[in-house]
Amino acid sequence: EHNEKVNRPDSHNELKSQTPKYKIYREPQQGELVEFLVAEIELPNIISANSLQLDIGEDRILLNTRSQIYHLDIYLPYCLKQEECGAQFDKKTKILTITMPVSN
């Protein structure tokens, strides 16, 4: 019984959502024209994409998780083509990759 208590994650900490580590790249790397952005978001505590809620605005990425483990809300200096955005969650690496075409 004692061990069980020690191993149980602190439920208070779980309620406080944290900002995940992320990187956003532009493609192509060089030149004035940016065709699309790729965001890579590290979500080590996520098991399935089912617990993720991703919304893309014209200039915004909003990510929430069902158990409020992670929260990300950022604005970007680009105009995104919302209709053409795609997202993949890699269950092995726990990385959410979002591809966002940019309108110029």
């Binding site: 991703l54 605005g57 200039d59 969650f89």
Partner: protein, 165 residues
């Protein structure tokens, strides 16, 4: 016999070139290495040495060509890859420079210099195309509605196993 003679003369030109290089007489050194290349065109050392001078003269495109020649003659010549990486870096060919450093480390895994240069290069490559979020005032934010994005799951091992069956 004549071929042997030419090789001996080529080596002698290289030694002169090395001395000029040490004395920072780069044009003289280049002339010696050029003679060495003409006398013995299949020796990988001579174009690589000329490349070393060309890099010092900031003639990076010519240095890259010489390094490539050297590598074609000896695909395991570490110095040629290292110098080509230097030249390519200066030419802004970062991805190609990275491949050369990786080759140096494949041939010489303990090379501290190549390790640190590759590390710096990778940081530079990454930072070049990084995009950072911005703070926007309310009136700067887009008024368009958010769109819910479907997230596809990949690398699901249990599913992959099922598909194999």
């Amino acid at each position: 016999w004549e071929e042997e003679q030419r090789k001996v003369r080529a080596d002698w030109e290289k030694e002169r070139g090395n001395q000029f290089f040490k004395d920072n007489m780069l044009n003289e050194a280049i002339n010696c290495y050029t003679s060495a290349i003409q006398l013995d065109p299949i020796n990988a050392v001579y174009p690589a040495n000329r490349a070393m001078c060309l890099i010092k003269q900031e003639k990076y495109a010519a240095a890259e060509v010489d390094c490539t020649t050297s590598i074609e003659l000896d695909s395991k010549y570490t110095k040629a890859y290292h110098r080509r990486a230097t030249a390519r870096f200066k030419l802004g060919k970062f991805e190609e420079a990275r491949k050369d450093y990786e080759m140096v480390l494949k041939l010489e895994p303990s090379s501290k210099l190549a390790q640190s240069e590759l590390g710096k290069l990778e940081q530079l490559i990454e930072s070049r195309n990084l995009v950072f979020p911005v703070c926007k005032r309310e009136e700067e934010k887009s008024k368009k509605a958010l769109k819910r994005i479907l997230i596809e799951e990949i690398n699901d091992e249990s599913v992959e196993k099922d598909q194999v069956k």
